[in-house]
């Protein structure tokens, strides 16, 4: 089979994404259903949920992030090694949701860059799987060294990350 090295690596990456669940509320419960036998996230190569940011590729932020929790999310993101992706699951993580109030971060994209937003309050497991597939498309399509591109560096600089 003739192919390029880059394609092989992309294929391997997209089908072995290790998610890091950052679950603070009900969207996390939906993610538990997504992982379990009925919806079976393992079909997409993501059954290995890691609880160390050092090992994981995909930060899944699920639930309301209070302003006091914002620096924690950021810290977890900074501890992840490249290549890394971020998924905001549910209305709260994406935009603050119904919690339009002084104590809640109005979307995690105020502190870290987000690749895929999953709508819903909470989203059904199908929606979370759809988000995972969108992440897989991203992983497949982007080059081996996204982190070296000027656009990516500019994005991270926009968040004050070296």
């Amino acid at each position: 089979m003739a192919t390029s090295f880059e394609k092989v690596v992309s294929l391997a990456r997209k089908n072995s994404i290790w998610p890091l669940p950052f679950a603070t509320s009900c969207c996390g419960i939906e993610f538990m259903a997504t992982m379990a036998s009925h919806y079976d996230l393992a079909r997409f190569g993501s059954e290995r949920v890691g609880f160390s940011p050092r090992q994981c590729d995909l930060l899944m932020v699920m639930g309301t992030i209070a302003k006091k929790m914002g620096p924690v999310v950021r810290q977890v993101y900074l501890q992840m090694a490249e290549p890394r992706w971020v998924m905001a699951v549910g209305a709260c993580a994406s935009s603050g949701g119904i919690f339009d109030t002084y104590s809640v971060l109005q979307g995690i994209d105020q502190v870290i860059p987000v690749d895929v937003y999953v709508p819903g309050c909470p989203p059904r497991p199908e929606a979370i799987i759809d988000g995972i597939l969108k992440i897989q498309d991203l992983v497949h399509a982007e080059g081996l060294r996204r982190r070296n591109s000027d656009q990516y560096k500019e994005l991270l600089a926009g968040y004050g990350i070296q």
């Binding site: 006091k68 935009s95 339009d100 109005q106």
Partner: protein, 139 residues
């Protein structure tokens, strides 16, 4: 439930009496918080103490009122250790300055917060957003 108020500089004396008097013995502080009444000039902030007599299972509510311009109320931490965190929380949200509190700093909100969010003059919604405008969200 029996509710009564007293001048704010009397609060320690009243609470001490309720605690010491054998026939009263309100020795458990179940709750402490504040209420903001912006229309009551000169007594905008109300600090509410909820006390419990565990022996006779009787509860009582005690209020003191203070001017929002000088929200100084004596701390009850010397009498009730439980008041420590509750006074911090009340300071955090209403800005009541509990005189004599050992560590009166914010407890629930972010440290950088520069206002007291449960005072009525501050809208509930986060005012830093630009994408939720009045037209679309009916603020």
């Amino acid at each position: 439930m029996l509710t009564f108020a007293a001048p704010k500089d009397m609060n320690l004396k009243v609470l001490q009496f309720l605690y010491d008097e054998e026939s009263l013995s309100f020795r458990f502080m179940t709750d402490l918080q504040a209420v903001h009444y912006p229309d009551r000039i000169g007594e905008e902030l109300c600090v509410v103490y909820h006390l419990h007599n565990l022996r006779d299972n009787v509860r009582i509510r005690f209020k003191v009122y203070t001017d929002v311009q000088a929200p100084d109320v004596f701390s009850t931490t010397a009498l009730f250790a439980a008041a420590n965190f509750m006074e911090r929380e009340t300071y955090d949200f209403f800005g009541v300055n509990f005189v004599g509190h050992p560590n009166l700093i914010r407890v629930l909100n972010v440290d950088e917060m520069d206002y007291f969010p449960l005072r009525k003059e501050f809208p509930l919604e986060d005012q830093t957003r630009v994408d939720k405008d009045d037209e679309m969200f009916g603020r």
